[in-house]
């Protein structure tokens, strides 16, 4: 039975991508998915060779035909997103709702499809990687995330793979929800900072909301052990398992600079801790 695990952090920069890259190296039969579609980094460690590159068309943008427009001003007045000024549409502000298109008395407005990114399927030395790039200033990151997951699922099914390992986006909004719903497990990587704790609570809330079971991992735990204890207390009150504590060690950064998963860069403490984490995660997924 194929299992899907998504690695999230609430706050970015907690070491999520480094941990996913280690799982890529440690797990046997898997496909990887990078759902952080607006600032993807996993490819920097996995060095993919792109096999398939598809344009992602989604959403629409209004456009006014100057020749036809009588400058009646109705569209400007009704657009709730302030996207029309001086009878021109600002494509960055336009949400593509089409309201203006429907009400223009002289049919001067057209809704045009917009290309909002690319989705990729690649090979890496760790197996397949599904990833994407959202165009700058584009909407619909949620839909692109859904597409990446769907690609990964198809590959996993076709090749009978055990795991889909997903690098999730930061935050708790639309792309996070899209990467999370229906997954078997969410691993939340946090830091022992007050902001980290605050963000962890919110992301746990989102996982609960969508009924996804949670495991927590405290990265850089020795940066502030009081806060690490606080996280563990909080988790135990909430009935959540803290699967690992990972030490604050510059090897994490050095491995990124070398373009390697840290478990391949060194054999030190951090590597042991991440290996144990993967053990716990994979055992939990078996259940």
């Amino acid at each position: 039975m194929m299992k899907e695990i998504v690695v999230l952090s609430g706050k970015g920069g907690t070491g999520k991508t480094s941990i996913v890259a280690c799982f890529a190296s440690l797990a046997k039969s898997k496909v990887l998915a990078d759902c952080d579609v607006d600032a993807a980094d996993l490819h920097l460690l996995l060095k993919p060779r792109i096999k398939e590159d598809k344009e992602f068309w989604s959403g629409r943008v209004a456009s006014i035909d100057e020749g036809k427009c009588t400058e009646c001003g109705l569209c400007q007045e009704l657009c709730r997103f302030g996207a029309i000024k001086d009878f021109r549409v600002d494509p960055i502000s336009c949400e593509g709702c089409g309201f203006c298109y429907h009400i223009c008395p002289v049919d001067a407005i057209a809704m045009k499809d917009s290309m909002s990114g690319h989705s990729f399927i690649s090979e890496t030395k760790y197996g397949y990687l599904c990833h994407a790039r959202l165009g700058i200033a584009q909407e619909n990151s949620g839909k692109l995330v859904a597409l990446v997951r769907q690609n990964a699922k198809l590959i996993a099914e076709r090749r009978n793979l055990d795991y889909i390992i997903t690098d999730g986006p930061p935050g708790i909004g639309c792309p996070v929800i899209s990467s999370l719903s229906g997954a078997n497990l969410a691993l939340l990587v946090t830091e022992p900072t007050l902001s980290g704790i605050h963000d962890l609570e919110r992301v746990i809330g989102v996982c609960r909301h969508f009924g996804v079971p949670v495991l927590v991992c405290v990265n850089k735990y020795d940066l502030n052990e009081d806060n690490t204890d606080r996280i563990e207390r909080y988790c135990s009150e909430e009935g959540i398992e803290v699967a690992a504590r990972i030490s604050f060690d510059n090897v994490m950064t050095q491995a990124i600079v070398e373009g390697l998963p840290v478990v391949e860069y060194t054999n030190g403490k951090v590597t042991q801790q991440i290996k144990e984490l993967w053990q716990i995660v994979s055992t939990r997924l078996e259940k």
Partner: protein
Amino acid sequence: MIISVASGKGGTGKTLVATSLALSLKDNHKVQLLDCDVEEPNANILLRLPIKQSQPVYIPIPRVQEAKCTYCGKCAEVCAYNAIAVIKQKVLVFPELCHGCGGCSYLCPESAITEEGRGVGIVERGSSGNLELIQGKLNVGEAMAPPVIREVKRYTNPANIVIIDVPPGTSCPVIEAVKGSDFCLLVTEPTPFGLNDLSLAVEVVSELDIPCGVIINRVGVGSKEVEQYCCRERIPILLTIPLDREIAALYSRGIPLIEGMPRWREEFLRLFQDIKGMVPASRLAK
């Protein structure tokens, strides 16, 4: 003057910079800090201002008066997000999909649709002396951050120094937060991740035509690539902050850098002067 503090990638120290800049300026200026990272607002963890006012953010969603409705299907036809559907003798509204554009209620031939507010988040305000904080919080489980960000930004008073803490990434919430700024500070790290995400953030600000400068955080372990990139692209590096366990530990306890290590105040004041020198007067006049 409106200065936004952004970074393609999260966790680079954006909030550390935004709060320290605000605190260093507040003695001589009126400062507003807008926390537009509404999915994970963190600025007030460091500032600890008492919240005095709290207001829900609503999206107007349709409510159909069945008595007037003829099930003509017009509303479903105009909705670009499939947020309203007409099935036989029933109109279904899917509130989570609705962007509140107002199209269906305006276009319903029977005027059968009114609107009601659906809470998606809150905006909170607090202040102390010259420093005012406005922070948005997206409700847990909600997908759309931009309406909350727009509400936070309504409090902008350009006569003040306005500092905006921007969410990570490059998509719609980032644009919503950054647009209208006079200057954008991009906070990054000296790693391949930092470089990759910085170059995306630079694309965003150039798309919006906003001048920018870079702050490199956690300098020490890492590579020179970010500096080389900035040099090549002629983007000024305005400040570097070393990788220092003491700085990280202060942050972990929620202590602003310039309070824990007051010698940084001078650096942030100089940063502000540099920014002022880089914002063309014509921009501010707008």
